[in-house]
């Protein structure tokens, strides 16, 4: 399934204090990672709403993830825990829609973890590359393409 020419579009929601700072540190350390991610800064991942995750996919992103502080280290105490909960919920919605839930994810990192930021960017980009383009991509023809997971299920159901 992996299409190595496929360059996914990925949106990252990062909190101001940790993940955004980690991304900056990755820059200071000149760590190289794929160009596919586009970051949107939030004060805290606690502000990240499910609608923002879904909207990202609807707007044409092939994947979207949230990057917040380490658990227990949120600058707003528990915002990242709320975010994780919402990301998990968004996954269940995607499953219902027949979209791979792996297209959304939650990561935690501290502001000193520049290397971890780059690693996540690599990891997630590769994950989406493997999944291929989002079924929601294109000119409004949502779900015209049968999602990989759905297609696989259908094939399994075929008589041999």
């Amino acid at each position: 399934m992996a299409d190595h020419d496929f360059e996914p579009e990925i949106i990252v929601f990062a909190c101001h204090y940790c993940a955004y700072a980690a991304a900056d540190l990755a820059g200071s350390m000149r760590l190289q990672y794929p160009t596919n991610i586009r970051m949107i800064k939030l004060p805290c991942t606690g502000k990240l709403e499910i609608i923002h995750l879904l909207k990202a996919l609807e707007a044409g992103a092939d994947g979207v993830y949230a990057a917040g502080c380490m658990e227990g280290e949120c600058h707003y105490l528990k915002g990242n825990l709320w975010a994780r909960k919402r990301v998990e919920y968004a996954k269940t919605l995607l499953v219902e829609l027949g979209i791979e839930p792996e297209r959304v994810e939650m990561y935690n990192m501290s502001s000193a973890m520049g290397a971890r930021f780059a690693e996540v960017a690599n990891e997630f980009t590769e994950r989406i590359r493997q999944l291929g383009p989002s079924p929601l991509r294109g000119d409004g023809a949502a779900l015209d393409v049968v999602p990989a997971t759905v297609a696989a299920t259908a094939e399994e159901g075929q008589p041999t």
Binding site: E9, I11, H16, Y17, C18, Y20, A21, A23, D24, L25, A26, G27, S28, M29, R30, L31, Q32, Y33, T35, R38, M39, I40, K41, L42, P43, C44, G46, K47, L48, E49, I51, H52, K55, A56, A59, G60, A61, C69, M70, G72, E73, H75, Y76, L77, K78, G79, W82, R86, S110, S111, A112, M113, G114, A115, R116, A118, R137
Partner: protein, 1481 residues
Amino acid sequence: MSTGTPAKSTGAALVLGGGVAGIQCSLDLAEGGYKVYLVDKSSALGGHMAQLDKTFPTNDCSMCTLAPKLVEAGRHLNIDIVTNSELTALEGAPGNFTATVYHHARFVDPDKCTSCGECVPVCPITVDDQYNEGLGERKAIYKLYPQAIPHTYVVDKKGYAPCKSNCPVETSAQGYIALIAEGRFADAYRVAAEPNPFPSVCGRICAHPCEAACTRGSVDEPISIAGLKRFVCDTAGPTELPDKLPVTQSEKVAIVGGGPAGLSCARDLAQLGYATTVFEALPVAGGMLRVGIPDHRLPHDVLQKEIDQIVGLGVDLRLNQRAGVDFTVDGLQKDGYSAVFVATGLQTSAPSPVKGDDLDGCLPAVEFLRELNLGNPPVIGDRVVVIGGGDVAFDTARGAARLTPASSKAPAVTIAYRRTRAEMPASAEEIDEGLDEQVKIEYLVAPVEIIGSGGKVSAIKLQRCKLGEPDEKGRRRPEPIPDAYFEIPCDTVIFAIGQAIVEDFRSGLDGVAVEGNAVTIDEQTMATGHSGVFAGGDVAPTGPLTAIEAIAAGRKAAANIHNYLRGEQLVSLWTDSLAEYRPGDAELAKVTVEPRVHMPEHDGAERRRNWVEVRTGYTEEQAIAEAKRCLQCAVCSECMECVRACGPGALLHEERDSERQLAVGAVVMATGFDAHDPGEHGEYGYRRYPNVLSALEYERMLSASGPTIGDVLRPSDDAHPKRIAFIQCVGSRDQDHEYCSSVCCMYANKQALLTMDHLPDVTPEVFLMDMRAMGKGFDAFYQRALDRGVKFIRSRPSTIKEDPLSRNLSIDWEDESGHLHTSEYDFVVLSVGLEPARKAQEAAGKLGVALNRHGFCELREYAPLDTSREGVFVVGPFGEPKDIPDSVAQASAAAAKVMTGLADSRGTLTVDKEYPAETPMEEEPRVGVFVCHCGSNIAGVIDVESVTDYATKLPGVVYATDNMYTCSSDALTLIKEKIVEEKLNRVVVASCTPRTHEPIFQDTLREAGLNPFLFEMANIRDQASWVHAKEPERATAKAKDLVRMSVARARMLEPLYKVDVPLTHAAVVIGGGIAGMTAALALGDMGYEVHLVERTATLGGHVLEIDRTLRGSKPAEFVAELEQRLVDNPNVKIHLESELRDFQGFIGNFSSVVVAADGKRTPIEHGVVIVATGAREERPTLYGLGASQKVVTGMDLEKMFAADDPALAAAKSVGFILCAGSLDDNKPYCSRTCCAQSIKNAIRLKQAQPDRPVYVWYKEIRTFGLSEEYYTKARELGVIFTRYDNDSLPDVSADGALKVGYRDPYVGRDMEVAPDLLVLATPTIPSEGNDKTSLLLKVPLTAEGFFLEAHVKLRPVDFSSEGIFLCGSAHYPKGIEEAISQAYAAAGRAASILAKPALKAGGVVAEVDQEKCAACLTCVRVCPYEVPIIDVATKKAKIEAAACQGCGVCVAECPAKAIVLHHYTDAQIFAKEEALTMELS
């Protein structure tokens, strides 16, 4: 507060030390209305905390918690950050000091540096990175760490390297050597040639004083500095003539003499824009370089190339022009030359003093060499004797040796010299090469007579000499030995014994005084007595100079001629040199011996037959190898590569150290600590064994931003270690450190846990004496380590041995029962202690601040912040080793101390920035986009022009441009102009990170009358060009996307306003113990109204139960004094037998009711609350407590002391059980104070009756910090300490005779004693009523029932609800000094709010849409700060802007979508998302 009457004190403070404590203190003071000078010795703030990976006991990321504070301090208008500086003197009195601050030059202008870092890759100097504890490397120009504040670079320049300071033209030899080592030959050539127009020449014949001074010479051999210069000139010298320089000055200058002095002067004058003419007497230029040195040493074409380079600049060289014959100086001046430089040299030999020198065959050396070099070799015989010992003698001798007639063998040449080789002025190379060429040298001989035959020389008569006393120059004088004559047969004698001025020059120099062989000049200006006439080189002031000295003279003359002609415009050369710096002996001892790479040369016998250059020059490999031997003495070499790379022109290499006087009212020393250097402990092998690391080094290794990016690697082989040991108390609790460093147990615990995160297979082992987990949450942290399997071994190993092959380490240790073990590890971390910072001790000495016997700052009892000098306070580990929260609390406390002392000058020196009113904006978005090159940081990868061009096409964009540095002041001015001209109402900057730069641009918007929230940044550097350097096209595409997304969001931005919310300048303090009393008094002294609410009928709390303190004073006396001051303070209202009720409101605007015992209700409006409700001693039913009168608690014992209870004197033996009911499942935490209190009483009992046995049974002895000395003292007095644990509790039988059974682990036996008194150190437990207070104020409690602060490390006395603070044992069990410290801290934090006339509220805060709100309480439930309330009147949710922290959790959770977080609205986020794949039409 300004009351109209002029303030008596100065409303400013100096905070020394920019670590976390110094930063906190500065922030509190600045917020509290004071101007702050935050002075730090290093180039950036952060101190040790910036080096830490994680902090205990929460394992929070250290940088995450520190960085926001750094940024806040960096931005604060009233904090002046003074880095690279030391406090050197403090004069005046408290309230009005004058502080002298010595500033070490930074060499970078912080106002111009944009932190783009272009300077770093070009810098050729690499040194150990001290921020990474030497585990990594950095350049000589560097930023301390990526997040450093100030956000600017600094040059590590220790002075001038010896090579530079000993070079007459101050060549940055270390610079070109470093560049050669990197293979950057063209850059190296530039460095070599810039100060010296004859680098190729000097690369060959220079006397190289640099090499004599070279530090490497004291290790093995000096660097071949001249040889490397020759290499780089031969390899990278110019191959073409330079462009002629434009003449920009109206005056003409004449130079008499075309030697090195004259031509150097000519070059500099040409570069300064003068039309310059050089008059040379000979048919060739170059002076002695040309006619004094034969080809075999300096080929004429090498010299000619460099002369051509000078002439090529436009210098008019006129040959065959003889002074005094063809022209005169007067004549030149008449011809319009405004200045004349006389550099004619000494063109004749000094007359010989020997009889017979008129014989045929006697020659003067200068003339001999001149004729030889002009191509007319003089006729000489087969046997030549040269008299002299300088370079001229050798050039003559070696030249003569080469004058081999075609028919005969080469002549035999002898040099006759009066002294020995050691005194010979000729260079060692000349001597060695001469000897190689079979030149014979007769030492210790003086010529007596030249013997002739037939008018021709036939022999020379010489007299043997011996060395006598040194002469005035320090050279030993030759003394002829009587009658020791001998003859050398010869046919030519050449005298090389000195040079002289040519007689007919004198007539050409009318008006110029000549004395002997020298023109008289002023040595400073090089001016002769004749106006406009200067002189230098061999001709002035003293006889023969080396080539490099002549060049220096010429260059200095040019600078002085320029000064003379320009008058006011001074050019200075070598007048502002830095002091010489070379590494110390300790550093040199580490250098591996590696002899010099010798330059190859032709065979001696071979070469004496030709004129080919003797030495062949280095190959590239040889040159690089030799260059790498350089020790980089001064770190920065002044190669000036950074200057060339720096776009904004921020380098200031000419900066020098300076001093500054600051008027301040108080000083706070937050000077931190020095980590103990375990190198002093030879037995642990630190520095000798690569796999033994200090804890600070290990911390850097654990850090994700450290040198190994968080990978734990054995330094010896970069393998992952399998067995790691930690050794505690290295530099603590030993003979040299009679104190406990308080933090090492916990940081080792942390490092052990982190090790397991990094290396899951490793089980760390910790060697310790006691586990000092005496702080809040520490025991739970220790338990976590135990639960995860960290092995704690109670032993103090004495040595570590290394297996030299495997580099593994073995530790011998003795267990608690005395058995010996040996364990092998492959990695050992030494938990180094905290020592008083040496720099702080120096500062203390200068300030007159007394130190205690440990070297820490001496502090008075009950005054834990006051030094011996009034008005100077101390916080953090300089007072006593302590952890971050205690230091941070002290920082706020010191701020409070300053505020009480300077209450009358509050707000007198602080400033508020004034902005113009906002101009009304157009309705349609008009976006301006500014795309930054950041030098080449962005533009080197991303096509900035293309991004800019793209931006112009985006919807809403009316203007786009690119800037070299968008944050530079000219670009900021441009932004302001464009906002006005283009009526911009949204601004997007595509550059670096908003985390550092957004405030700068927002400020610019405000200055242009635009709301600061109409600004958006696209991070195309840190998150694009830097991380996609190898994919320029894709990085450019990404940058376009980011700009498009930013523009889309910008169009949706709305102006936001912060509004003033009125604030009640009054405080409520709950709890009248020592903490509450101290906090109330501090606020009262600052001039704020304070209500002190105490439940009981008296003030003082539990402290009154203590008879005497550790130091022996009675706390009751201190409490009485404190109470009197409270009563006397008109601002303080004491409410006894009262409770606080009906608390409501938000920060700055609370209202409560104080209800007295009689039911009287007093409503109070207040801006802040301080909780100081204390704690109490538990009385558990344990060990017979309550059953036997012989079993008492610690507080009972205090009462017995106070009452002088006869039972005390009667007790024949006394036992103490520590941790009675603590450190078990029931009370798993440490009560912190009881060890020291119990030991104090054990000492007291022992001292009263030294023969009385006193037993102490303990689980842990936690006499942290300086209280360790009481533990030591108790043991010295014979108090018997025995450890027990939860499996072997003492067995107390209290019915009838008191008996204590216990197990002695060392002898391994059960023992029993029968004390007459048993004292239990029972747990300190939370006050009754904490639950009620917690509910009333809506502030949280810990599981143990103490109050929970906002952040363990950084907000130790704050609650997460704004405006509510905490201090004393309500937080956790505290000693008296700690409670006082914290009380001041709470007061300081409270004052930073009360000092403001009003609160600012608004901006990025949540707001409820009243229409949509269903009052479902979701927001009330989810807000971590308990800000939302349901308004009683409207029955809708209400979020007070002043209290909202802006996290947005409520917004995301609100089911009705009734809450909006301003600046992060759905519309704004959606716009960004939708722009992701938007195509341009």
